[in-house]
């Protein structure tokens, strides 16, 4: 248990050598390895930070670009909306014009159809009125009425203008028309025929070859045909004349 000076001194030396050896072969190499790894980790972390910063910058850039794209898209959409609205308004205008034209056309067509219908109705009314008048006058027609019409025809001839007498005379002067025809609905009395022919021959100054015949279409009254000239005083032709005149007036209107 004594303190051995040799052991004491040599132990001091031994331990100092141990400290040097462990520092040389253990602490320094391992510390260097740890430091190198720390530096490497620090470099990796720095690189990661740089990469993260770059990624962040890229993210910001992409977000900015996305925002720009969004703005452009919104503007393009608004422009498209405006153009679409303008096009819609233009198409609506054209459609409105086309509809107006169609409406006017339809209005004209309806008006024309209405007028045609009115004309048809008027014609039908005229035809019916003519039939009615003809049927009514047919029932009234008779020798007395024809004698009255003959008398009226004679009075009209007597009161006829010289110009008309001149036209009648010229009609009788045509070689192929040197005859006259008197048509009546009923058989004429001889004295009535004689009085009528005598007055005409006296006024025209010509001897005329008279031909008499009966025509039921006249309904009542007579008709004088001399050449191309026709003088009438009968119900049938008067009704026809009335109806034609009314139809002409309808067609012209």
């Amino acid at each position: 248990m004594d303190l051995n000076p040799s052991t004491f001194v040599l132990e001091v030396v031994n331990f100092l050598i141990l400290v040097w050896l462990l520092k040389r072969f253990l602490y320094q190499p391992v510390s260097a390895a740890i430091d190198e790894r720390r530096r490497q980790i620090a470099r990796t972390v720095d690189e990661a930070h740089d990469t993260q910063a770059a990624a962040e910058a890229l993210r910001m850039q992409y977000e900015s670009r996305l925002a720009d794209w969004e703005t452009e898209k919104r503007q393009a959409r608004e422009t498209f909306k405006r153009e679409l609205e303008a096009e819609r308004q233009r198409a609506l205008g054209e459609l409105e014009k086309a509809l107006d034209a169609e409406r006017e056309k339809a209005q004209v067509l309806i008006e024309r159809q209405r007028r045609d219908m009115e004309s048809d109705l008027e014609r039908e009314a005229l035809r019916l009125s003519r039939q009615f008048a003809a049927r009514f006058l047919e029932r009234l027609a008779g020798p007395e009425m024809e004698a009255a019409l003959l008398r009226m025809f004679g009075e009209d001839l007597a009161a006829m203008d010289p110009e008309h007498w001149l036209a009648l005379t010229r009609a009788l002067e045509e070689p192929e028309r040197a005859e006259a025809e008197i048509a009546s609905a009923f058989p004429l009395k001889p004295e009535s025929c004689a009085g009528l022919t005598r007055m005409i021959e006296n006024r025209t100054g010509r001897t005329i070859a008279w031909r008499f015949r009966e025509d039921p279409a006249l309904i009542c009254g007579i008709r004088l045909r001399a050449g191309h000239l026709v003088l009438a005083a009968n119900v049938g032709e008067e009704l026809k004349f009335f109806a034609d005149g009314a139809e002409n007036s309808l067609g012209g209107g």
């Binding site: 004594d2 004491f8 132990e11 462990l22 253990l26 390895a33 740890i34 790894r37």
Partner: protein, 228 residues
Amino acid sequence: MEQIDFFARVLGHIGPVAISDSLLTSVLVTGLLAAVSAVLTRRRTALPDRVQVVLEGIVSACENAVRDVIPTAYREVTPFIMSLWLFLATANLISLIPGFDSPTRDLSVTSALAVLVFFSVHWFGIRHQGIRSYLKHYLTPNPILLPFHLIGEITRTLALAIRLFGNMMSMELIGLLLLVIGGLFVPVPILLLHIVEGLVQAYIFGILALVYIAGGIQSGPQQENSSP
């Protein structure tokens, strides 16, 4: 009954120098630690293998322990404290190998280590504060306390040496007595306790040395109020 020579034996002399078995064991431990360190740290890679991980763990643990106490000078102090821990742990546990005795059962060895701690405290203190500033702390807060400072330095060094020596010697003595009295397997539990005791004593010796060195480094006027 054959007499058991428990204490350190002088195996021979080289001139006036006596060679004891504890010294030879210490040299053997030193060579073993140096050889193992040199071999294991020969190939270092960025991606460490298991051996390198263990080595880095040992070094990092020592370094972190020292840095926690001395943040400003841990690079300089760590090799000394780490050598204390490794040497004492190995020396304390080498007696588990049949035929070997722990060198720390020799008061000469523990005294040598305690004296090295004593001088290392002054060495690191003077290096970091300068000799005037370092010696000045013996006169603070009052020069009248200088003898107490000196007594404290001596007694704590003696305490270091005797604590380690006493603990290790007593453990080995108990194991030896149990072996002699009880037989071959009776000291086994004591040997298991001896492992813990050896490691704890190594740690205590190292940590006390670290605290003393930290006190020497931070004992100057500038460092008195600074946190460690």
